[in-house]
């Protein structure tokens, strides 16, 4: 692997000054929550370690993860992160196509056996022997298995690879499944979101390259530093939530005042992601800041949670087109009606019984 340049070599080649490089290292350390002591470590790793080859495969997906990734606004990321990783195969970004591309894939797997990282965008459909997604004339699930066999670790990019996303939404006609249901013998890091935040993606890769290990993961296998808290926990509109000040309808005065979007169905309280801290597009904004509630795109099965605009949502998972309140109120109403009827009959029966009992008591007294 000595023929591969180090990250630092690549950066300098691209005309990046050492000063900018050090800035990048400290910002990366901060983004990863590592503190200043790790800046020289990161710098050292980048100066000495050969670039880690990455194979980036695409299954059923919309390429929004790639779109997000190449827009990473972290200093230098656009140029550097893509160069940092030795992206040896990525069918949507590489110049090669057809047989050449497939040859590049085989070549990379052979050359870096057990050393490359496999980044998976999208997921494999399993129905009809995987025929719903064909890459290079073969079902994607086969390419995935081949590429995963000798991978050091796997990154599941986005909601597709992590949970299934829209193609796995009910009724999931192609039986699309997340990567971890097909590959069970490799460490898998899940980076959910539709798409994931660019800086989160580059942050995860930087961490893995720098320290040659997976970042700390939570129980769902997500990097804890980015998915440890809900959007809600760091939302700048949280004071309006606690105050009970909500946007009541789109474009009302409360919307203009920037009140909480909870009543508009914001999924911030149930969504683990870093949008409210890292934000999007060079930290410009994120959905809630733009006046639209979070749709919970980094959560498992977010397409099947009813409307994006309700908090008490339709109970699609029960196959009933009604929400908990409608079901509950109907049940309570029916029971209340039943009770009223039962009361009436009870009273009638009781009166009837008294009438029937009266002659006998009269007899006894007589």
């Amino acid at each position: 692997m000595s023929q591969i340049e180090t990250f630092y070599d690549v950066m300098r080649k691209q005309g990046i000054t050492r000063r900018s490089f050090m800035k990048y290292c400290s910002l990366t350390a901060a983004a990863l929550g590592l503190g200043p002591a790790f800046v020289p470590k990161i710098a050292h790793a980048m100066e000495t370690l050969p670039r880690t080859p990455v194979i980036w495969v695409h299954g059923l997906e919309c390429t929004c993860c790639s779109e997000s990734f190449i827009r990473s606004a972290h200093p230098l990321a656009g140029d550097v992160v893509l160069s940092m990783i030795s992206l040896d195969y990525d069918d949507t970004l590489m110049a090669a196509a057809g047989h050449q591309a497939e040859a590049a894939l085989r070549d990379t797997i052979e050359r870096y056996r057990g050393n490359y990282i496999l980044a998976v965008e999208g997921n494999p459909p399993l129905n009809e022997d995987g025929m719903y997604c064909i890459v290079g004339g073969k079902p994607f699930v086969e390419q995935l298995r081949e590429a995963a066999e000798h991978a050091k670790a796997i990154i599941s990019w986005g909601a597709c690879a992590s949970y299934g996303c829209v193609q796995a939404a009910h009724p999931n006609p192609t039986r699309a499944v997340p990567v971890h249901q097909v590959i069970t013998d490799k460490p898998i890091i899940r980076v959910p979101g539709c798409p994931p935040i660019a800086e989160v993606m580059t942050g995860v890769i930087t961490y893995m390259l720098t320290f040659d290990r997976l970042p700390e993961l939570d129980r769902q296998g997500r990097p804890a530093m980015f998915y440890g808290q809900r959007i809600h926990d760091k939302c700048y509109r949280r004071p309006h939530f606690d105050a009970g000040q909500f946007v009541e309808s789109w474009d009302d005065d409360n919307a203009r005042r920037g009140y909480c979007l909870y009543k508009m169905g914001c999924k911030g309280p149930t969504t683990y992601n870093a949008c409210s801290t890292i934000r999007w597009n060079e930290g410009v904004s994120f959905p809630i800041q733009s006046g639209h509630g979070c749709i919970g795109c980094s959560e498992d099965g977010f397409w099947d949670q009813g409307s994006f605009y309700d908090r008490v949502t339709d109970l699609t998972q029960f196959g009933v087109e009604a929400n908990a309140d409608q079901v509950g109120m109907a049940a309570a109403g029916a029971v209340a009606g039943g009770i009223a009827l039962h009361t009436a009959i009870s009273a009638l029966r009781s009166a009837q019984k008294k009438v029937q009992d009266r002659p006998s008591t009269a007899k006894e007294e007589a």
């Binding site: 009970g244 959560e299 008490v312 998972q317 908990a324």
Partner: protein
């Protein structure tokens, strides 16, 4: 002490003179017709639990569908939704502590303190009594039976709505509360895996809300049945949960 039971005229002076008692009343009063069923901790739990459930249902409904926005003060000084959520969490904590207390009392309390926690499904006789009680509520039986604790139908309701139902609400409730308490704490350690197993926390929210409606339905049935049976059955109902004594209205056998 003389045995008064043989002489209907003896004793009970106060009842006769100023207690508005007739001769037939005295004959009835002389018999011991009450059983001490619900001990103090059970009654205390019942009413604390009832109060908590009232608070939880009202605040819980409002958490899913908040009140119209209020403009009382600047957001920093206004905590309307915060207080509603606080009341929900506080009532939930009290209910949970009470429920654990109630389980403890099932072990150390009297026989009746245990009835809520099990169903004798293996006993044929019990199923026969369930059927009888169903017929009584369907107006097919003319005379109800005497029960000291819960009747078999009530026992089923208590078991599913309280023992199972409250457990479900406590567990799902704490799983959501753990989200606010954030990762790393003991709440997250205990309840986090459940949330992950369910998947999306929105599912947790919806099933917790369905649970709320189940408890509302139970409340309706419970209060109706208690008042109806207080009037129509052969024993006391409502006052039993206040005094602890089950009094019987007649001394006939079944």
């Amino acid at each position: 002490m003389t045995d008064l039971s043989h002489d209907p005229a003896a004793g009970l002076e106060a009842s006769r003179l100023t207690g508005d008692a007739t001769e037939s009343d005295l004959a009835s009063v002389r018999k011991r017709t009450s059983v001490y069923v619900y001990e103090v901790p059970v009654r205390l739990w019942h009413w604390i639990n009832a109060a908590c459930i009232m608070v939880l249902v009202v605040t819980g409904y409002l958490i899913g569908r908040p009140l119209p926005s209020m403009q009382i003060a600047e957001a920093t000084h206004q905590f309307v939704f915060g207080y509603i959520r606080f009341a929900h969490f506080a009532a939930g904590m009290i209910l949970t502590a009470g429920f654990f207390g109630r389980i403890y009392w099932a072990f150390v309390g009297n026989h009746h303190a245990r009835q809520m926690f099990y169903l004798p499904v293996h006993r044929k006789a019990w199923w026969r009594e369930v059927w009888h009680e169903i017929r009584w509520y369907a107006f097919l039986e003319r005379t109800p039976k005497k029960y000291v604790g819960h009747n078999p139908l009530a026992q089923i309701a208590m078991f599913f709505f309280m023992t199972v139902g409250l457990t479900f609400m406590i567990v799902t409730g704490f799983a959501m509360y753990a989200e606010g308490a954030m990762q790393g704490g003991w709440l997250d350690f205990l309840f986090g895996p459940l949330r992950e197993w369910i998947g999306n926390s929105m599912v947790l929210h919806q099933i917790h809300r369905l649970g709320m409606w189940a408890i509302v339905v139970f409340m309706l049935i419970h209060i109706y049945a208690a008042i109806r049976e207080d009037i129509l059955s052969r024993q006391s109902m409502v006052s039993t949960m206040i005094s602890g004594h089950r009094t019987f209205k007649d001394d006939r056998a079944d």
